[in-house]
Assembly symmetry: C2
Homo-oligomer: 227 residues x 2
DNA sequence: TCAACTTTGTGCATGGGTTCACAAACGTCT
DNA sequence: AGACGTTTGTGAACCCATGCACAAAGTTGA
């Protein structure tokens, strides 16, 4: 009756968002031969408060040793388990422009529980080109491919106008986890997860803060120019 | 004494993060010839609650008309102003691998208040290649360049091991807004803004939810396998 | 074995963010 | 001009997340 808390309880979204960072740092420490870390040390590496780190980890279970800290390897394994990275997730990328190429050859894929099984683009000029050993195929072949060799996560790297149609195709094929790099809001049925990564949103947020800094630095044009 | 609230008051971070989405949707509506929207309609487009949208907009000032809604063009302009997009922000990209190339040729740059003024990479094979009219130069030239033609935002698109050194170079040159695509935590002096965009973090968050869904779907292995 | 020290895990308080619900404000129609 | 319907802007309640502070639990050294 006392199963793994990671699977029984709800892990808060804010915590889930930090787990990959913890895992990355732990992996680096493991490579450096570090065997054990305290919450204080690990938190400092990651850039969070130690109390936050401990509370986050407490949602996965109790893997620390009081007076000592956490075993690096054990903790990394438990976080991997919680995130579902003990198995490999098959990923397909749709849209093989500059961004799609960059994503396909991104080393972060293979190392961490993800495996590219499909690359799609309807541009005939790209047909049969191979990246990391996978051929680029027309999107129409996706459903067929998915039936033979299931895809867990679809990545959309097309221009914005094509994104919704591609999304519909992915959902239609039965894929329910989507990572969207196109600057467009996708509408999907409930049960489908969409995460968006958008360069220009991030730039705009930076611009906002940059503006605030330059105004705070004694630039009073705004106040003077106010109507 | 009643200056623009966007410049006087503090706009919550959560609101700032949503403003680019509102702006993008408003721009699309404007292109489609829509003159006016209610908070209900706009919220539906963006995928948020109307109350949230109204509260967000209220932080910028009072630009709606009761009983009618918001003028699309006016609201878009006010959001642009709040975000600081009425002026162009000069951007430099460091690291011209696949990702750097993709970012440099990304159309979202020029259209929305950003302008690429520098591309840097120490790989001699890339020297003097031009993308969107800008030559790739060694990173050592950055400080000099910045002194002549200031850079507001630095984008790091290098592999993780190089990220901190590049970051130090950017900060050393006087750049205080950084967008980091490398999977590494950067340490910077206070006053410098860093935002991180990380593919593998996003994939891992998707994997977590995908795992939850597959477990919830009647797969009881976890409960049975529990010690 | 026991005391002193270290570090985890967590109850509790605090703060922000989201949602609800409604009064105030506007346009419209008679 | 006045009544009616619509939509904004916002006070108030709720909810989640963060940070503090400490008891519980472990190690180390005498």
């Amino acid at each position: 009756m006392s199963a793994d808390p990671a699977l029984r309880r709800e892990i808060p979204d804010a915590t889930v968002a930090r787990l990959p960072e913890y895992l990355r740092t732990l992996s680096r420490l493991a490579e450096d031969g570090v065997l054990s870390v305290s919450s204080e040390e690990l938190a400092a590496e990651v850039g969070v408060r130690s109390a936050q780190l401990r509370k986050d980890l407490s949602h996965l279970g109790s893997y620390g040793v009081r007076g000592v800290g956490y075993d690096v390897e054990t903790l990394a394994l438990e976080i991997s388990r919680a995130l579902g990275l003990t198995e490999d997730w098959p990923v397909a990328i749709v849209g093989m422009g500059n961004l799609g190429h960059a994503l396909a050859s991104y080393s972060g894929f293979v190392t961490k529980g993800f495996r590219i099984v499909g690359l799609y683009d309807d541009d005939p000029a790209l047909a049969d080109e191979k990246i990391v050993g996978v051929a680029i195929r027309p999107l129409a072949e996706l459903t067929e491919h998915h039936a033979v060799d299931p895809i867990a996560i679809g990545v959309i790297a097309t221009p914005a106008p094509a994104a919704q149609a591609v999304c519909d195709a992915l959902v239609g094929a039965g894929i329910s986890s989507i990572l969207n790099f196109a600057p467009a809001v996708l509408s999907v049925p409930s049960g489908v997860d969409v995460r968006r990564v958008d360069l220009s949103t991030e730039l705009q947020i930076l611009a906002f803060h940059a503006q605030r800094k330059s105004l705070a630095a004694g630039d009073l044009r705004a106040a003077v120019a106010a109507p």
